[in-house]
Symmetry: C2
Subunit: 204 residues, 2 copies
DNA sequence: ACGAATTTTGAACAATGTTCATTTTATGGG
DNA sequence: CCCATAAAATGAACATTGTTCAAAATTCGT
């Protein structure tokens, strides 16, 4: 079965090539400039070929969204070294924020844009990336609780609250809602606001 | 000058008619179904007429975004009755969340979608709606501080942090990031998480 | 070498935002 | 009432998008 194997590998390679081209365009030019035509042109294949390997544009965006979670997960690996769960929680926030502000379009795709979720609805699959990421956060919060923090709080709502806080800052910053609002020091507002959150965390 | 006045009034009326049609479509069908053609058809005018009254689609979306802020501001009027700033802050959060979840597309347009901000950049104007809304929140937080709360915190970063927290919950919910993540009680997660936030507020 | 299966192609379609020459309507003076 | 001028409204036309699919090109097995 040597031929079938090679063919399967070639299919996989071309799929990855398409994704690689799509990602390059996505990161460089943003989501609306990442057209099927531009992807096909970037890798010297025809439009139709893209549709052989991906059902539609949502499928491509979902695949990119998945790559984004792999990247973010990679950034999180440094946190394994932080033993104290509270310190790890804080560090997670910092890594998360840095990832979001360094990769604004990718972050939008992962946490705001509806296309990846529409793909999941269409193929009737679960959001496994989100589930996994949330589990990492929840486990850390749980360990904080086991260490005596967050007395009187419920695990899941609290976890979601913390996620929302950090996501909200990134979302507003990326969506350009901070520039027009803050009079003094609009630049560092995310870092400063996160600092306020850390102060509160120290009391819980 | 009776004629000129009447003409000006007619222009204003037609502008409002276009906006009314756009809003109806926007609320009913969402942003991507709100096309220039569908707007024109809904009010029995031609495509070209829409472009006489609005520079482009971003201008229409910005006008709708402004209407959204007027609506949200209207919802906030009930808060004038709440004398205690801390109670008012909590009530603001509830009103904000209800507005967001009741008007998801409008909320997206106001706080996530880039089109209104791109319009502002194009015409070189400020985001006055955002400024005003943020001022309302900041004033309330300041009054909380004057009443002895939030010791050791900075006003603007803290205000932005609170905004981010509430916005983040709404953004994740509207962006369908909650459904796929939470095992138990995905429905009420926003309310529950906000409840956790209120518990924390009571200690500050 | 050749028929069959697989892969790739790109023309074609529908829908979108946008432009602008043309048509229609309104205005006001003779 | 007429008609020249201005203002307003029109919709055909263009560029670009996602998407489809019959045809062409390539590869495979015998």
């Amino acid at each position: 079965m040597g031929v079938a194997e090679r063919k399967a590998k070639e299919k996989e390679e071309l799929r990855n090539l398409i994704l690689q081209g799509a990602r390059k365009l996505f990161v460089q030019k943003g989501i609306e400039q990442t057209t099927i035509r531009s992807i096909a042109e970037a890798i010297d294949y025809s439009i139709g070929t893209v549709y052989v390997y991906f059902k539609d544009k949502n499928a491509i965006l979902h695949a990119l969204h998945t790559q984004g979670f792999a990247d973010l997960g990679g950034q999180f690996t440094v946190l394994f070294n932080v033993a104290d769960p509270m310190e790890r929680l804080k560090a997670m926030g910092r890594v998360y924020i840095r990832f979001a502000l360094d990769n604004p379009d990718m972050y939008d795709l992962m946490f705001s844009i509806k296309a990846p979720m529409e793909y999941l609805n269409a193929v009737n699959e679960e959001w496994s990336e989100g589930k996994t990421a949330f589990n990492v956060l929840r486990t850390t919060v749980q360990q904080c609780m086991e260490a005596g923090h967050f007395k009187g709080h419920q695990l899941e709502p609290l976890t979601f609250m913390i996620w929302s806080l950090v996501h909200g800052m990134c979302s507003l910053e990326i969506g350009q809602r901070t520039k027009g609002v803050n009079l003094q020091d609009a630049d560092g507002i995310v870092e400063q606001a996160f600092g306020e959150f850390l102060k509160i965390l120290d009391t819980l």
